[in-house]
């Protein structure tokens, strides 16, 4: 299965290379992951992305994803991409980044990840965790890592303080997606020394899995990152209502240790909690999870990820303890 994924990655990389021939500079990148979990599932995924400069300081980014899991209801390996056995366009946008006289201004148009909290694929998919935080998994009525916007996004400020606003239509991937409509996201980020803090707010159409789930979805979030001498501490606290009459509150805290003396090894640990409450149906669920693991960079673009996960609380279909192992390969080509 891993070989099949690699072959697909290579083939589509060359197709994308031809399609983006208009760019002034271009990089094509492919990533493939194959993994197994003692939650009795296996998964494979391929991502292809191309990015570079177009003209006049404008850049482009495009990404395709394919993923398959033997248990699509389990969140193992779904840190940032869908596993529905189909090819999805994840992001496709053009963007200008300008910073004259220390002022920062960016403008983006197209299809992009919802800029709420710690939202980049880089932050969720490649840091060593093989599962998304509970509050960021689309099944659990929070903010999904698979939320996407089709619209525009602007950032304004100085490097230590920026305000970002996005307005668009939900364009999510996966089997739990928001309904059609208009949504908006605002994010404020401040940076001082080793500390980065953010505040986010989103007003959106809801994910509708049952007919009585109506009304706007509104969430507020605070995110923090602190990095010093190879230790990164980060986390998010997110609260809001996924639809009328329900509330979801969740948080997670990550420790990512990559001291210089550790060479290619990065150690990771996460604690998290999510609580869902729907009074009308007398449903109240709380789940806890702890994760420890490691990511090891190997030669030739390979990376091994190992996570040990402990679950507690109201989470059906999961064993109390799981071991996830993923082998990832990533390669890049810059024909221009």
């Amino acid at each position: 299965m891993a070989l099949r994924a690699l072959a697909a990655a290579t083939s589509i990389a060359y197709v994308l290379a031809a399609a983006t021939a208009q760019a002034q500079s271009m990089t094509v990148e492919a990533a493939a992951i194959t993994g197994v979990s003692t939650d009795e599932l296996a998964a494979d995924a391929v991502q292809l992305r191309t990015f570079g400069d177009i003209a006049g300081g404008v850049r482009y980014f495009g990404e395709l994803s394919w993923g398959w899991s033997s248990d699509a209801d389990n969140d193992a390996f779904a840190a940032a991409y869908p596993y529905g056995n189909r090819v999805d366009v994840i992001e496709a946008y053009a963007e200008g980044i300008f910073h004259p006289h220390n002022v920062l201004f960016t403008a983006r148009g197209g299809r992009f990840r919802t800029p709420f909290g710690i939202y980049n694929a880089s932050d969720q998919a490649y840091t060593g965790f093989l599962r998304p935080p509970l509050i960021r998994y689309h099944e659990y009525s929070g903010i999904s890592n698979q939320f996407l916007e089709l619209g525009g996004d602007m950032t304004f400020g100085v490097p230590w303080l920026t305000v970002e606003t996005a307005v668009g239509a939900p364009a999510d991937v996966g089997h739990a997606v928001r309904t059609a409509g208009v949504d908006s996201v605002t994010r404020v980020q401040a940076y001082y020394g080793p500390l980065i803090a953010g505040f986010s707010y989103i007003s959106s159409t809801p994910i509708v899995l049952e007919e009585d789930q109506t009304g706007r979805s509104r969430f507020t979030g605070i995110d923090l990152r602190w990095a010093h001498r190879g230790l990164q501490l980060r986390g998010e606290w997110i609260t809001g209502r996924p639809y009328d009459g329900a509330s979801t509150t969740g948080w997670y805290g990550d420790a990512i240790l990559h001291a210089v003396s550790m060479g290619p090894v990065t150690a990771v640990a996460r604690i998290e909690r999510i609580a869902f409450d729907e009074r009308a149906k007398s449903e109240a669920e709380t789940t806890y999870r702890q994760t420890i693991g490691a990511r090891v960079r190997l030669p030739l673009g390979f990376t091994v990820n190992v996570n040990v996960v402990h679950h507690a609380g109201d989470l059906d279909g999961y064993k109390p303890m799981s071991l996830d192992v993923g082998l990832m390969w990533s390669g890049r080509r810059s024909p221009m």
Partner: protein, 197 residues
């Protein structure tokens, strides 16, 4: 009239400086060369000359290793020991630049778009630079104990400016090559060709 006197005085002073430089053996030349690997150009080859008597740096010079489009630019940077290298983040995503093997060891942590961090490369050696978040981001910083160095362009051509006249011992390195090449080169010696087998 006064302007004409000043011009002649400037010419006289300039001639005097040149004469002194020549008397001290400071005549310099630009050293041009090419780097090849077999029958192909060897871009990003780094070439430097031994210079044990080179004057020390009066102040640390600055160099730039940019982070843009999920890549380091340039992929190979050559600097003199004592240079401050700026690592600006010109991407919308966070990067975590680090170096853990030979050469300078550091970990810059996270910093957002529009900001930069700085590292002093104070000792000669090769530093391999990575991003802990993006596995395909990699660059080399070659720090040399010499003011006479150059990096070959896409065609393999390079120029070391301001080399004192005479014969010098050279070193050459390129990414992926198993060994560093060494030898001697004379500023008046014609074509300077570096060839890996």
């Amino acid at each position: 009239m006064r302007k004409s006197v000043r011009s002649w005085r400037n010419v006289f002073v300039l001639s005097l400086i040149c004469s002194v430089a020549s008397a001290n053996g400071q005549t310099t030349a630009d050293l041009h060369g090419t780097a090849r690997a077999g029958d192909r150009p060897a871009p990003d080859t780094v070439v430097w000359l031994d210079a044990p008597n080179a004057p020390p740096l009066a102040a640390p010079p600055h160099a730039l290793l940019d982070q843009r489009n999920l890549a380091f630019t340039p992929k190979v940077l050559v600097i003199r020991a004592g240079t401050l290298v700026d690592f600006p983040n010109n991407d919308r995503v966070f990067h975590n630049v680090f170096s853990f093997r030979d050469g300078k060891r550091f970990d810059l942590g996270l910093y957002p778009v529009g900001s930069k961090k700085r590292v002093l490369f104070d000792r000669a050696g090769l530093s391999r630079i990575f991003c802990n978040i993006h596995p395909n981001m990699a660059a080399y910083v070659m720090t040399v104990d010499s003011p006479y160095f150059a990096r070959a362009d896409e065609s393999g051509a390079f120029t070391i400016p301001g080399v004192p006249a005479g014969t010098h011992r050279y070193h050459a390195w390129r990414p992926g090559a198993p060994d560093e090449l060494t030898g001697t080169v004379a500023t008046a010696g014609g074509a300077f060709a570096i060839t890996w087998p």
